[in-house]
Symmetry: C2
Subunit: 200 residues, 2 copies
Amino acid sequence: MDKKKESLHDTAFEILRAAQDLFYEKGYEKATTREISERVGISKAALYHHFKNKEEILFRICIRGADELIENMRQAIDRNKRSNVPLKEKIKDIMFEYATTYLKNKNFNKILLHEIEFLSPDRKRIILDKENENVHQLKNFLRELMEQGLIKKFDPTVMTFSIISALHWLYFWFKPNKNLSLGQVIDQIADMYLEGIEKK
Amino acid sequence: MDKKKESLHDTAFEILRAAQDLFYEKGYEKATTREISERVGISKAALYHHFKNKEEILFRICIRGADELIENMRQAIDRNKRSNVPLKEKIKDIMFEYATTYLKNKNFNKILLHEIEFLSPDRKRIILDKENENVHQLKNFLRELMEQGLIKKFDPTVMTFSIISALHWLYFWFKPNKNLSLGQVIDQIADMYLEGIEKK
């Protein structure tokens, strides 16, 4: 990449980052492209050189966050399929990857949940399809474990969403500086799911 | 209640119901008190006879939904503490109560998640305290089961939020007209949590 292209790329990245923070702080509707460009320290014209409008910025933020989650989960599932560690370690590693990617992009997820309505129907569809892709790769992995007789046969959709929701909701209640680390929380969630909570 | 009071009460109720639908459809910010009063078929002045402003309407909607969840869960926990059915049946009944109350108020929950930012800090605090109250009564119940040796000792917060989040997320993916009924989904979630998914 030559110098000029690289700096263009950096500016686009800075715009997305500033917009993501701003949308998180005051919501998409209230945020203006003027404020975004001010945060980056560029003119409004320079911003419009990279993005057609505010909605395109929102769309790119959503694409980036969704793609990162899909890619990280794809890698986590792949490396655990190839690994010989016990099942529980595999599940923990996958859950931990999901939770860390999700929590790292905390503000992306608030945006995704709240602001997706502001995307055009076509663009909203693209983001929802990416969410589905993410759910499906986990569901397929769990279905394979069922077929291999490693886990019990539950409805794969119920199982997938139960696990995903326990991880999603961390953003709502988990504070990293409390008694439990994220790793310890994931350990407990995986233990509950794998072995059950009832004493026999 | 005399006739006049009753009809005043009904009007306030109709206003809240219309506002809840409207906030759900277009978001709190875009909705106007004019639209709310038009839906109810009253004048704007009549609306302001019941509520000081749009924020008070939002606050009352949040209070009503939160109180209903607290009360239904309190009753579900109480009746299961007194009952002699197996532990799994108790957990299922409590989960089912939570899920049905939550799904019945589907639009309330979207409002709660998205629009709580528009409440004044004092009022937001009141609603968050009610959410905490709801979490705490379930957590206390689970802690009692741990102390009685009926369930394993996990961190009560991790356990409570894991269960609640599996139920919350139903609003996102569960369609009542699919192959599985809500009761069947709750059965599976409770079985997963109580007995674990791993085959031994």
